[in-house]
């Protein structure tokens, strides 16, 4: 019983932290909501995983990659606004998933199910979260410059497409992991809310990064602990906790 609690707590904290950290880049790229359609697009994969009893993140990943490749190609080849793609992908993912999503397991797909996480899942969640964190840290400066101005970045001979691709692969990874913690419907929230709060609290980039990471971790930890006590699902609780932190940050921001 306690072992299970520690499993979900550890994986939640790692995934939440990595999501918050990467989310700080996504927010400044005005792409925080892209995790939404990607999470939704993951749903058919999640449904397949639930039917055939394999890992949810594993099922989600190919579908998320498909979405990421679409976004990357569209960004490179056309000037089509992200919203257009978002709207199509969002709905299609949910629609297809509902053809064969087992209804008794719908909750796990939609809002996550970290309470039953197995040891091997904990291990690879932790490893993947660390990989996301380290890679994100490596690409952070060039990506931040690209977010400020692609022209400036190019004038510094930064290969914008290459960094965007690495960044989008990280997004795909975090969405696949996030689906396990908060489900397909809420993945946008674990990347967007911690970063949004951190932005309100921060005066510089260093604070912004550190706070996005820690708010992501704290929200996950408190949410999972609350779920253990209240028996309510962890995913929605994590989101509610981070939304509360966001409210506090808004009040703080107004005073500043």
């Amino acid at each position: 019983m306690t072992g299970q609690f520690i499993f979900s707590l550890v994986s939640g904290i790692f995934i939440g932290g990595a999501a918050g950290y990467l989310g700080s880049l996504m927010l400044s790229k005005r792409m925080a909501l892209a995790a939404g359609p990607l999470g939704h697009l993951a749903l058919p994969g999640v449904a397949l995983a639930l039917i055939y009893g394999f890992d949810i993140s594993l099922g989600a990943f190919p579908f998320v990659i498909l979405g990421v490749v679409l976004i990357w190609l569209l960004e490179r080849k056309t000037k089509l606004p992200m919203e257009a793609l978002t709207a199509v992908v969002f709905a299609t993912g949910v629609a297809i998933a509902f053809f064969f999503l087992p209804i008794d397991q719908a909750e796990a797909a939609l809002v996550g199910d970290i309470a039953k996480i197995q040891l091997h899942e904990v291990i690879y969640s932790v490893i993947l979260s660390l990989i996301i964190f380290v890679t994100c840290q490596k690409i952070y400066s060039p990506m931040a410059l690209i977010n400020v101005s692609e022209d400036l970045a190019r004038s510094k001979r930064i290969n914008v497409s290459k960094y965007n691709l690495v960044y989008l692969l990280l997004v795909a990874l975090i969405v696949s992991l996030g689906v396990k913690v908060v489900g397909g419907l809420l993945t946008a929230a674990i990347v967007a809310i911690p970063a949004a709060s951190a932005r309100n609290f921060s005066r510089n980039l260093a604070q912004y990064k550190a706070l996005s990471l820690s708010i992501g971790m704290i929200s996950a930890a408190v949410g999972i602990a609350l779920s253990w006590v209240t028996l309510l699902p962890a995913g929605p609780l994590i989101i509610v906790v981070s939304a509360l932190i966001f409210l506090i940050s808004v009040i703080f921001f107004k005073r500043k």
């Binding site: 927010l27 400044s28 931040a144 101005s149």
Partner: protein, 230 residues
Amino acid sequence: MQNTILKVKNLNVELEGEKILEGISFEVKEGEVLAILGPNGAGKTVLLKTLLSLFPYQGEIEWKEGVEIGYVPQRLPFIKDMPLSVREFFDLGKIPVSETQRILKSIGLDERILQKKIGDLSSGQFQRILIGWALSSNPQVLLFDEPLTGIDIEGQETVYSLLEKLKRDKNLTILFVTHELSIVYSLADRIICLNKRLLCSGVPREALTPERIADLYSGQVKFYQHRHTE
């Protein structure tokens, strides 16, 4: 006498099927200040970015070998999406701390500004920071998009005198795009005017006759409409 630093020959730029620049040819000498004039949508910014190889083109762009180019973009609307101090903005450009002092001195700003949030700077201060950023690679050439647009009067003066100082002290070759005729007369050695094609070039007082100006901007109602487009 002076060496040519940039040679552009029959430059054509087409973006998304639309011809933006056609048959542009001009040369720039070392240490020269060249103003690029033209109505909105004339392709001035595209020309600058093409010179930086940011856009595909046909024709020839020949920079002097090994030349280092600094670029000051027109606006950075997205920079406020991220909390960023001036120091960190320099870090993003991999500008070493040891360099920063020299740069701040040359753009006339105090070291205390490094701790400030970019979003809290005045428009003039921010413009000078951008110039400092561009100067960090020790360029021989500075490409400058609308140096004075969107900057308050006080800031315009500081930016203007900074440009004058750079021209005087560093023998920088400066290419700038502008709408402001006043700075053209006082700063530019030569001008080119364009509206898709090259319409005139020469010394400002000779090339920029009242008729030419009227011609260049005539019928360009959108120029006076103050449109906020890129």
